[in-house]
């Protein structure tokens, strides 16, 4: 009999604890939870006992731990802070410590709770107002005279920002695609140079191997320069040409390697 009773009491306890925990999902963060807990004190938020509130919150977190429910980090941060606050409120003030007193911290927490509740309150008042498209209405048939038509172009700030975001991050999002028309690959350069190298008996500036018109556009020029340089290294490795450069940044010269 006694066993059954204690068992059912145990079950009831667990159910109550779990109900509270399950509700965590319904809370929008620790401050919201604190506000809800504070309502059980049934007093004006200005008269609230922050100490009692801190105890309730810590008990709540403790229960969550027992039930092995993972609480989000900000709930734990708040718990740590409330534990600190609790100790400040309970212990006599340390004359050495020039930090804020427990009362000051508690008063601020009470202020935050009161402010959050006030904002909820006015948010509800705002939403309860007459609203356009529900309680009152704008002109349903704005007039247009069709005879004179003038086209204006429009865009919203969001369009503008999205456009900018798109440009600035296109490298992040776009599947990688080569802009072939402005890129010269090493294979292309290699093909070109293989054809031309036979005539290069004397030292010749590498730049002279660049295809015609490729220096007009800086992007294309860079690409062509790089690919031809890489191709010439490849040819040198294969023993087809020799490379030299007088000094740093001097023109690179190549010539056919005989034999």
């Amino acid at each position: 009999m006694a066993e059954v009773e204690s068992l059912s009491a145990h079950v009831a306890e667990r159910v109550a604890a779990e109900a509270l925990i399950v509700d965590v999902d319904g809370f929008e963060g620790p401050l919201d939870l604190l506000l809800t807990l504070s309502r059980t004190q049934k007093v004006d938020l200005r008269q609230i006992s922050v100490l009692a509130l801190a105890r309730q919150y810590l008990a709540f977190v403790e229960r969550a731990k027992q039930l092995r429910i993972e609480l989000a980090a900000d709930y734990l941060v708040m718990a740590a802070w409330l534990a600190f606050l609790k100790s400040r409120l309970l212990l006599p003030p340390d004359p050495e410590d020039d930090g804020p007193s427990g009362e000051e911290l508690a008063a601020h927490l009470a202020f935050q709770l009161e402010r959050l509740e006030a904002m909820r309150d006015v948010a509800a008042k705002l939403m309860a107002r007459d609203q356009k498209g529900r309680d009152f209405f704008a002109r349903g048939l704005p007039e247009r005279v069709e005879r004179i038509r003038q086209v204006t172009y429009t865009a919203t700030l969001v369009d503008l920002m999205q456009a900018y975001a798109r440009i600035r991050t296109k490298d992040e999002f776009r599947p990688y695609v080569m802009d072939r028309d402005r890129v010269m690959t090493m294979e292309e350069a290699l093909d070109r140079m293989r054809g031309l190298i036979g005539f290069a008996g004397a030292w010749t500036d590498l730049a002279s191997y660049m295809p015609e018109g490729w220096d007009a556009d800086p992007v294309r020029r860079r690409s062509a320069t790089a690919s031809h340089f890489a191709a010439s290294l490849e040819l040198a490795k294969a023993g087809k040409i020799e490379i030299r450069q007088g000094e740093t940044f001097a023109p690179i010269q190549i010539r056919r390697r005989d034999g």
């Binding site: 804020p100 009161e114 909820r120 007459d130 209405f137």
Partner: protein, 238 residues
């Protein structure tokens, strides 16, 4: 009406314009026509730009507003602009015109209220008041509804962007100006719109430091503001 026309002529006599402005009764008709034709609120300057030279849209609006008192449609003020809207007590007739607004989340409603009552507000300030991070999409949704927009950047380190409410917000909630927000005066009297900094703590307490950051610079531009980088963790993953 005769009086109005005389008034207009009287003004003209004192300082003769190049062209005679139409009589006031006529100006009132014109403003009436323009306001009826558009669904968007129109500013006095816009009205004047469209009226013939020498007209006084402000005075015409005064007349028009009085004329429509108690009628099925009303001339209402929306910030710096004016619009004609149906009387709110007749909303029940308009079930077919009712536009279903997307249901706003609690986070979005609270965020909107905070921007409205505290504007200009930074994201960090919104998070400080709600005690949670503003999730992605909440601000986006309010921007999309055109109920909030970007205000001036805060002149504090990090120059965080601020949010303010729009004319569309005022129009939607039938407010003449943001000063007419419900309960604003009570909130102010209770000190709940102040940016009260968290009591300063000795070094090494992250929480207090974080709160300091958030409070800073709301009004004064002198203190060290960590900007909105240091917000609390995200509210939900969506």
């Amino acid at each position: 009406m005769g009086d109005d026309a005389d008034d207009a002529r009287g003004d003209g006599g004192a300082n003769p314009p190049l062209f005679d402005a139409p009589p006031m009764a006529e100006q009132e008709r014109m403003v009436e026509a323009i306001l009826f034709a558009t669904a968007e609120p129109m500013g006095v300057a816009d009205l004047n730009a469209r009226l013939p030279h020498g007209c006084d849209a402000g005075a015409a609006l005064d007349h028009l507003r009085r004329r429509y008192e108690g009628r099925g449609v009303r001339v209402v003020r929306v910030g710096d602009a004016w619009a004609i809207r149906t009387a709110p007590d007749l909303g029940f007739l308009m079930s077919r015109e009712t536009t279903e607004t997307r249901k706003l989340s609690r986070a979005a409603i609270e965020t909107l209220a905070i921007v409205a009552y505290h504007q200009p507000s930074t994201r960090a300030e919104i998070e400080e008041i709600r005690g949670v991070a503003v999730s992605r999409g909440t601000i986006d949704q309010l921007l999309e509804l055109e109920w909030i927009r970007f205000g001036r950047r805060r002149q504090t380190p990090g120059r965080p962007v601020t949010f303010v409410v729009t004319q569309e917000f005022l129009d939607h909630f039938g407010l003449e100006s943001a000063r007419d927000l419900p309960g604003l005066r009570d909130l102010r009297a209770a000190g709940l719109l102040e940016n009260r900094p968290a009591p300063d703590q000795t070094e090494g307490d992250d929480k207090a430091a974080m709160q300091d950051d958030m409070f800073d610079g709301a009004g004064v531009a002198d203190e060290d503001d960590g900007g909105d980088g240091a917000g609390p963790p995200e509210e939900d993953g969506t």
